[in-house]
């Protein structure tokens, strides 16, 4: 019995070995282009920026690495209001995106029926036009003589927003509200798509089961649908908040000097003032702040076992 199985086994192993060895390396070969991409376009610029942030000097004399960490403290001391504003505007835009995006994602996932794909295409349709042009269009929408301002004025909503400092008298353009509106508009699809994906995955029979077990539609949403959509809520808020916190286009086009965000400061330092160390230090501070906030957020939302 043993001899019978041994004899054919030996040559089989011999022929099987070489292809398996080659096969084991294939995944690494496939990883190589991606890794190279990351090294050239992510790791190297990071190292370069890190070294820039600790240099001193001037444009005329050239910059040298002097391990000048004080740049970080100076940047933080000079620009903390812009940092705070970035977090507040991005946070407000994220909350607005969630409030607007959740019902829409819910509708697409559960109620759209055969219109589902049409609505999904409409959600991403704005991407077919340039980001800049769409943001410039908001300048017209929110202009002083435009319909939005007059409607909000008639409804006395501008009184309320002015009172909390979001608008300035009869103006919406060049106020915090305009920047937040622009951020909300531009990042809404990044909220809707992950929300839709996680809602769409929910088994419809779970809703029936909850109803069958005495849960009203509202309780079903609170106890079943929303908890199960948490992965989408978390990824949607991250995909909205992170780019919104670093954005400068909306504050530049729709805001004023009083609504400058940290992105605007970095842009000015790099491109106009040409103070590269400060710009690099600001970038690193922003990155660290976002990393810390995101880590705390993911820990607290407790969605590790749901994703």
């Amino acid at each position: 019995m043993t001899t019978v199985t041994d004899i054919p086994a030996a040559p089989a192993v011999k022929t099987a070995r070489p292809p398996r060895k080659r096969g084991r390396l294939v995944p690494y070969w496939l990883l190589l282009p991606g890794l190279l991409w990351l090294v050239v376009f992510f790791a190297l610029p990071m190292v370069y920026q890190a070294s820039t942030s600790i240099q001193t000097g001037s444009l005329e004399d050239g910059f040298k690495v002097t391990w000048h960490f004080a740049t970080y403290w100076d940047a933080l001391g000079d620009y903390w209001p812009q940092f705070l504003r970035s977090v507040l505007y991005a946070g407000a835009a994220t909350i607005l995106c969630l409030a607007l995006g959740y019902p829409l994602a819910y509708l697409i996932a559960f109620r759209a029926g055969r219109w589902r794909n049409v609505v999904l295409i409409l959600v991403i349709a704005p991407f077919f036009t340039s980001f800049l042009i769409r943001t410039l269009a908001w300048k017209t929408i929110l202009s002083d003589s435009g319909p939005v301002v007059s409607t909000l004025n008639t409804l006395h909503i501008l009184d309320v927003t002015s009172w909390i400092g979001m608008t300035d008298g009869d103006r919406v353009l060049a106020t915090p509200l305009a920047v937040i509106c622009g951020l909300t508009y531009n990042f809404l699809p990044f909220m809707i798509l992950p929300l839709y994906t996680s809602l769409e995955r929910i088994d419809g029979r779970l809703h029936e089961a909850a109803g069958d077990l005495y849960a009203t539609p509202a309780t079903t949403f609170r106890k079943v649908t929303f908890p199960l959509s948490m992965p989408g809520v978390v990824s949607g808020t991250l995909l909205t908040f992170i780019p919104a916190a670093g954005d400068y286009v909306n504050a530049d086009l729709l805001g004023s000097t009083d609504t400058r965000m940290v992105g605007n400061v970095i842009q000015t330092q790099f491109l106009r003032i040409l103070d590269y160390p400060t710009a690099a230090a600001l970038s690193f501070i922003l990155m660290a702040a976002i990393l810390i906030m995101v880590t705390v957020y993911i820990r607290r939302s407790g969605t590790e076992d749901l994703v």
């Binding site: 029936e208 077990l213 849960a215 199960l228």
Partner: protein, 384 residues
């Protein structure tokens, strides 16, 4: 009075149409309190739709649903005193077993659920698994959680929608007995939807066989099996052989029939068709009621038995019995199941044989129906 029939389910003229498609034709059905009732039929026959209308998950196009004396037709599911065990269970993946089972209690505002949930988990033998998530359990365990989650609410009626469909055969048999035990223990009315005729017969007190949106026949399993009212029921529940015959006369309680050149006897009480002389009837007999005797020994067959002649075309030995297919002038592919007590080695394919059976085991049906009704659907389900 109210407590006595509080668990009755009474459907009156209930129907469901989707556009031009009628899923359930107007249907009257009463499920008595405390019974184990099975709705049996092939997929698409309307059995699940009927169950969902009782649960409130589907709104009937017409008719009323009564639970005891209460008309619940207009009530949403969360206001109905019924609970459902869903096909593939629909357990909440984000809650552990304990919270899944406690879900219904908590929704009704009951605060101290610990003792009840513990007892219920013990009843379904899952006390140890309380803190696991559903995906960590096996199919059979998930099925028991689904039952516990529904039963803990003490519903007036427990609805089971193909609850054992996702389990393998051995586990399914085990769970059938388990469910039957639980039903006996708690005494709640169970309405069970299944396409598995064996499952319906082993578990239910009463079986309603559904076909194309209506109840074809309703009765105790043995009654349905022995006295099918249509070829559909006769073929869907087990296997039946049919011979087309003509009523030749009547003698006392029995009808005499002419089938081909031969003569058959059928108790008049077991014939659901009109029995005027010269009328056509379908004579049915179950394969296991038939004895086979080799043509050489035909003389040894006692008098008074129905007999026809044929030739063995196929035989398959399946342990407890041997299944023969017999070609006969009256019916091609006559099926005979013979217990393997004394096997006659001459009964091989090609052998000339006489089939004979006690006339009491014969049933008569209206000849104006499809002999094959219900048979093909069973095969489809078996293949699926």
């Amino acid at each position: 009075m109210t407590t006595e029939n509080g668990g009755d389910v009474r459907l009156a003229g209930i129907s469901k149409t989707y556009g031009s498609f009628t899923a359930v034709k107007p249907l009257d059905l009463t499920v008595p309190q405390g019974s184990f009732f099975a709705l049996l039929g092939a997929s698409g026959c309307g059995k699940t739709t009927t169950l969902r209308m009782i649960a409130g998950l589907e709104e009937p196009s017409s008719g009323t649903v009564m639970l005891g004396d209460q008309d619940v037709t207009a009530l949403p599911p969360y206001k109905r005193p019924v609970n459902t065990v869903f096909q593939s269970y629909a357990l909440f993946p984000h809650l552990d077993i304990f919270e899944n089972v406690a879900f219904g209690l908590r929704r009704r505002g009951i605060k101290s659920v610990k003792k009840q949930v513990g007892e219920m988990l013990d009843l379904v033998q899952l006390g140890e698994q309380a803190r696991k998530k559903p995906h960590q359990l096996s199919g059979g365990q998930q099925q028991r959680v689904a039952v516990a989650r529904a039963l803990i609410n003490h519903p007036k009626v427990l609805l089971l929608d193909e609850p054992l469909g996702a389990l393998d055969l051995k586990l399914r048999r085990q769970m059938q007995l388990e469910l039957k035990r639980i039903q006996t223990e708690v005494g709640i009315t169970f309405v069970h939807v299944t396409h598995d005729q064996e499952e319906a017969m082993t578990m239910a007190d009463t079986v309603a066989v559904m076909n194309a949106g209506r109840v074809e026949q309703l009765g105790a399993p043995a009654d349905l099996y022995e006295n099918p009212g249509s070829t559909f029921v006769a073929n869907f529940l087990g296997t039946s052989n049919f011979i087309e015959a003509e009523v030749a006369g009547r003698s006392g309680e029995d009808l005499t029939l002419k089938a081909g050149d031969g003569k058959l006897v059928l108790p008049a009480a077991r014939c659901t068709a009109a029995t005027a002389i010269g009328g056509k009837v379908l004579v049915g007999v179950r394969p296991e009621k038939i004895s086979l005797t080799h043509a050489d020994d035909a003389g040894s067959i006692p008098d008074g038995r129905n007999r026809i002649t044929g030739r063995v075309v196929d035989s398959s030995f399946i342990g407890v019995s041997t299944q023969y297919v017999i070609d006969s002038p009256l019916c091609d592919a006559f099926e005979v199941y013979s217990q393997n007590i004394e096997r006659d080695s001459r009964l091989a394919p090609g052998a000339e044989v006489v089939l004979h059976w006690n006339p009491a085991h014969t049933f008569g049906l209206d000849a104006a129906q499809d002999i094959e009704a219900g048979a093909a659907k069973v095969e489809e389900d078996a293949a699926a």
